[in-house]
Symmetry: C2
Subunit: 346 residues, 2 copies
DNA sequence: CACCTTTTAGAAACCGATTTCATCTTTTTG
DNA sequence: CAAAAAGATGAAATCGGTTTCTAAAAGGTG
C-alpha cells in the first residue's frame, strides 16, 4: 500500500533494452511496417521481460483515436438497457473497443454533462439511449446538441425521433403488436386496454398508435379511457391498473408498455382477486427476467437483444470508419406467449 | 456524414486567439496558478467562442492520470451488479471519474484480457466484482494476477476472499440471515432448505455457513440433503427446487441464494400446486425488482446499494489518493418481509 | 561490376496538454 | 528610495507513443 512505482515502462526502455530505436519498437507494436524477424524477436523478448503495456493515452493522442465508446442509458438498472449494453459490449470488444457507461437518469442537463465528458475523453463514438432521444417534447436546443455532437464524433441513437437527424437503430414492433392482438383475439378476448408511458415519449407514442391500429384491424374494442398514461415501473403499473379498474366497463385484456408495468398490473390483479388469464389477459414488452418471475408468467414481445445491439455497434463502427451506408435500421421482435394470456388449450 | 473536421481546437489555438501563451491557457484550465483577471477573461471568451474542449488524452499523458475507473462485473444483466454500478457511477461522477464497464462473463481469461485493456488505458483504479474474486478454487495464478495489478493501480474487490489480499468491500449479511431465520420461526416454520450456489463460490460458502448456524441457533432443522447446489438463475432455482422436492421429507421453508433462484423456486411451486406461504415459505437475497414482480412477493435480504457502492467508490478513491486507511469494509443489509413468508397476521 | 530498387531502421517531428524554470513587473518593506 | 519579495507570464521540456523522412544495407539486373 502507498508505494506503487511512479515510473511506467515505456517504449524507450524497451528500445534501449533491445538495442533498437523506439520507432522500431513501435513498428512491432502496431505491425504497420516491416521489422526483421531477428529484431522483432529481441523486442518481443524485452516486452515480455518488462511486462510492458503500451500507454493507450499516448497512443490515442498520437493517432487521434481512443478505441473507447461512450454509452449513455437512462438507467442501467432497467434490464432492457443492461441487456442491450451487455450484448453491445460483446460485439464492441471483438472490435477492440471498450465503453464508458453512464446513466443519464433521463435528465437532460446531466446528459449534456456526460456528452461533454465523452468529448473531452475523445471517445470514438457515442451511443445514446433514452433521455432526450426518446422524448418529442423537449427544448429544441437539446436535439440540436446531439446533431452538433454528431458532427464531431459519430453518434447512434436507439429510438426513432423525427427531431433528431443522426443514425438510428430502432425496434420495429409493428408486426409483433399485430401478432399479439391477433393472439389475444384467439383467446376469446374482445376488448383491450393499454397501460402506456407518456405521450411525449416516442416509444409510447409509436406503440400506442400501433396497438390502436392492430385492435381496429382485428376488430377488438379499445376505448380512449382505457389508455392510461404512466411511467415504466412496477409502481406505475399498479397505479395505471388501479385507474383502469375505475372505468365503468373494463377491457378483458391489458397490454402494457413494458414488462415492469405488466408486473405492476399483475400486482394489482392479485391484490384484488382478479384471475389472470381467466378474468383478464395481461401482456408486456421487452422480454426480461420479470416475465418468468411473475405469476402467471407474462406474455411479452421479445426483443432480440443480440441482433439489436449488434446493429447498433456495427452502425457506430461503420460510422467511425466512414463506411456507414444506412442511417436508419429497424430491428425485429417476436411474441412469446406465456400463462398471462393462455386461456385456451391448444 | 463523412466530413467531420479532422482538426480539433487546441490550447495553442486558444492561446493565439487570446494573444497569450499556451501555458497561461493551461493555468486557466487547471486553476493551478494565478492568472490576471484580464487575461483570464480573454481566454475564457475564446474558449467559449471556439467551444474548446481540452483533450483528456493529452492531459492524462501529461499528468499521468486518466480520471477513468475500470469496472468489471460478471454480468451487467444481473440486477445486483447493475444496481451496484448505477450507484457507484453516481458517486464516481461527483468525483469526476467516468467508468469503463466490462462483463467478464465469469471467464478468467476474459477477465485477464479486460484487466490488461484497463491497464493499457491507464485507468486510475479498478473495481472487480465476481469472477475469480468470488471463487475460492481457481488457479493461484489468477489470484496473484490481481495482487500484481494492485501493485500497479488500486484495485477494490467486492467479495471476501482469503486468497486475495487487496482492499475489499463486502456484504455482511450475518445479522440479516439470523433475522430471516428468526422471522421464519415466528411463522411456525420448523425446517429449512437451502438453494445455494456452488460451494466454491465465496458468497455461497459464507451464506451457507451462516444459514446453518442461524438455523442451529434458532433450533430449526436443516438437513444436508436439503442443501442443493445450483447457479444464480431462475432456471437454476427450478432445477434445485425440483431436486429438493424429491427428498423423502421436505422442509417447510426454502431460503435461496438470491432473488432469481427464489423466483425459480416459486415457478416450480406454482407448476406443482404447492401453496406459498401456506405449504412452504420462500426467501431470496438481494432486493431486486424480481421480488415485487413475483407472486407472492418475495421476502428478501435487501442490500443497501447506495451505501455499498459508495463504500466501494470511496475506498477506491482513497486508495488512488493514497489516503486509504481500512482495507476491509463490511456493508450491512436488512430483511424485508413480503408475502412469500407471511403466514401469520400481525 | 556498376546501377537501381527494395528493405530495414534510426533521427526527429508531432499529437496536446502540463509544469518547471527564467524573466520581467509590480508591490512591499526597511 | 533602493532592495527584496511576490506575482504574472512566456519559453521550453516533458509525458509516451506514432509516423515521416532519410540513410544505410541488402538484393536484383543487365
Amino acid at each position: 500500500m502507498g508505494n506503487r512505482p511512479k515510473k511506467n515502462v515505456t517504449i524507450y526502455d524497451i528500445a534501449k533494452a533491445a538495442n533498437v530505436s523506439p520507432a522500431t519498437v513501435s513498428r512491432v507494436l502496431t505491425g504497420n511496417a516491416k521489422v526483421s524477424e531477428e529484431k522483432k524477436k529481441l523486442i518481443m523478448e524485452q516486452i515480455e521481460m518488462y511486462d510492458f503495456k503500451p500507454n493507450a493515452l499516448a497512443r490515442g493522442l498520437s493517432v487521434n483515436k481512443s478505441f473507447t465508446i461512450g454509452f449513455i442509458v437512462p438507467d442501467i438498472k432497467n434490464q432492457y438497457f443492461s441487456t442491450v449494453y451487455y450484448e453491445f459490449e460483446k460485439y464492441a470488444l471483438k472490435n477492440n473497443y471498450t465503453a464508458l457507461v453512464a446513466n443519464s437518469q433521463s435528465n437532460y442537463e446531466r446528459e449534456s454533462q456526460l456528452l461533454n465528458m465523452f468529448l473531452e475523453k475523445r471517445v470514438d463514438g457515442i451511443v445514446l439511449m433514452g433521455g432526450r432521444v426518446d422524448t418529442n417534447s423537449c427544448d429544441k436546443k437539446y436535439y440540436d446538441e446531439i446533431e452538433q455532437i454528431n458532427k464531431i464524433v459519430p453518434v447512434v441513437v436507439t429510438s426513432k425521433n423525427e427531431n433528431i437527424k443522426v443514425p438510428t437503430v430502432y425496434l420495429d414492433e409493428e408486426q409483433s403488436i399485430y401478432d399479439l392482438i391477433s393472439h389475444l383475439k384467439s383467446q376469446n378476448c374482445s376488448s383491450v386496454g393499454l397501460l402506456c408511458g407518456y405521450d411525449n415519449i416516442n416509444v409510447s407514442f409509436i406503440r400506442r398508435k400501433q396497438f390502436k391500429e392492430a385492435c381496429k384491424f382485428y376488430g377488438l374494442e379499445m376505448r380512449e379511457e382505457w389508455i392510461i398514461d404512466g411511467d415504466f415501473s412496477i409502481e406505475g403499473g399498479i397505479r395505471a391498473m388501479t385507474k383502469l379498474s375505475q372505468c365503468l366497463k373494463v377491457p378483458d385484456a391489458v397490454c402494457c408498455i413494458n414488462d415492469m408495468v405488466a408486473a405492476g398490473a399483475l400486482n394489482y390483479v392479485h391484490a384484488n382477486n382478479i384471475d389472470v388469464p381467466g378474468d383478464i389477459l395481461i401482456t408486456g414488452i421487452d422480454g426480461s427476467y420479470i416475465c418468468e418471475a411473475a405469476y402467471p408468467q407474462i406474455t411479452t414481445i421479445q426483443v432480440d437483444y443480440e441482433s439489436f445491439a449488434r446493429k447498433v455497434c456495427q452502425m457506430l463502427i461503420d460510422s467511425i470508419n466512414q463506411t456507414c451506408i444506412n442511417t436508419e435500421v429497424p430491428s425485429k421482435t417476436n411474441v412469446i406467449v406465456r400463462g398471462s394470456t393462455r386461456r385456451i388449450l391448444k
